[in-house]
């Protein structure tokens, strides 16, 4: 288990880059492979864009809080804004034929596709997204394969 990092950020695109970079470091330090690192950083970026753009609407008086933690079993990234709140159930399905040619509405879909769990919490005001990527126990897969191999001898 490693200690967490908490960032309190302005509602700017610079903050989005900071979240993306911090998520990339968290994923790299956890030993995730290149594809998984890409998934984690992109999900964090999309969540930060949602917080800055749709949540806080670039309001300089509002902050985005981003927490990054490796608890030993999973990477947990929490992004919170101070906006009006978001009900994920009201968002249109970006894969529906009538929505395929929409220019927006794919961010949350990508977040859900790339992470193992995505949880929402309403903060009144604001929305908190918790993104979770489970970590594979180190070496467990190879031990199981070895055990199976020996059993067959």
């Amino acid at each position: 288990m490693t200690g967490g990092l908490t960032l309190t950020l302005n509602s700017t695109m610079e903050s989005v880059s900071q979240v993306e970079a911090a998520a990339g470091r968290l994923a790299a330090e956890a030993g995730l492979d290149e594809d998984e690192r890409f998934h984690v950083t992109m999900a964090a970026r999309e969540a930060a864009v949602n917080a800055v753009l749709h949540g806080n609407e670039y309001d300089p008086a509002k902050r985005v809080t981003a927490k990054f933690e490796n608890n030993g079993a999973a990477l947990v990234i929490t992004i919170a804004d101070q906006g009006k709140g978001l009900d994920p159930e009201t968002l249109p399905d970006p894969l529906a034929p009538e929505n395929l040619l929409r220019g927006t509405g794919r961010g949350l879909f990508l977040i859900r596709s790339f992470m193992d769990e995505v949880n929402f919490r309403q903060l009144h005001p604001g929305t908190e997204l918790t993104l979770i990527k489970h970590l594979k126990p180190p070496g467990k897969g190879s031990i199981q394969r070895l055990t199976r191999g020996l059993g067959g001898v």
């Binding site: 695109m13 989005v16 890409f38 992109m42 970026r45 999309e46 864009v49 753009l53 970006p94 894969l95 395929l100 040619l101 929409r102 220019g103 927006t104 794919r106 961010g107 879909f109 990508l110 596709s113």
Partner: protein, 114 residues
């Protein structure tokens, strides 16, 4: 890396060679401006070479869709060339692969514009 766009003409097709990221605040606006500039000049055949685009976010995907629909509304066409694996996977995941005409070979892509 920010997005760079280089334009060239091949047999009546305007090829935009894109390099870098197409993301909110980095490449989306450049791409939008480039497409609107071409459409505004009456360009009908536009091929986006994405061979050096290694990162597209949801905003960048939206910009590709907007390029497609903007062109279609003006009886023009936007096609895609040379997707990196990452961009290919994103287009598959979002079902946009079914929307775009995507090719890996420039010559056949140029020939496919009529």
């Amino acid at each position: 890396m920010a997005l760079t766009i280089a334009s060239r003409e091949v047999d009546g097709v305007t090829v935009l060679d894109l390099s870098g990221r197409i993301t909110l605040g980095e490449g989306s606006v450049q791409l939008r401006d480039a497409i609107r500039g071409l459409i505004g000049k009456g360009t009908k055949n536009i091929l986006l070479n994405l061979g050096k685009v290694d990162y597209i976010d949801s905003s960048g995907l939206g910009e590709l869709v907007s390029a497609y629909t903007t062109a279609k509304n003006q009886q023009a066409e936007v096609k895609l060339l040379n997707l990196t694996k990452r961009v290919h996977d994103l287009l598959q995941l979002t079902k946009l692969y079914t929307v775009f005409d995507v090719k890996d070979d420039e010559a056949s892509s140029i020939a496919s514009f009529k």
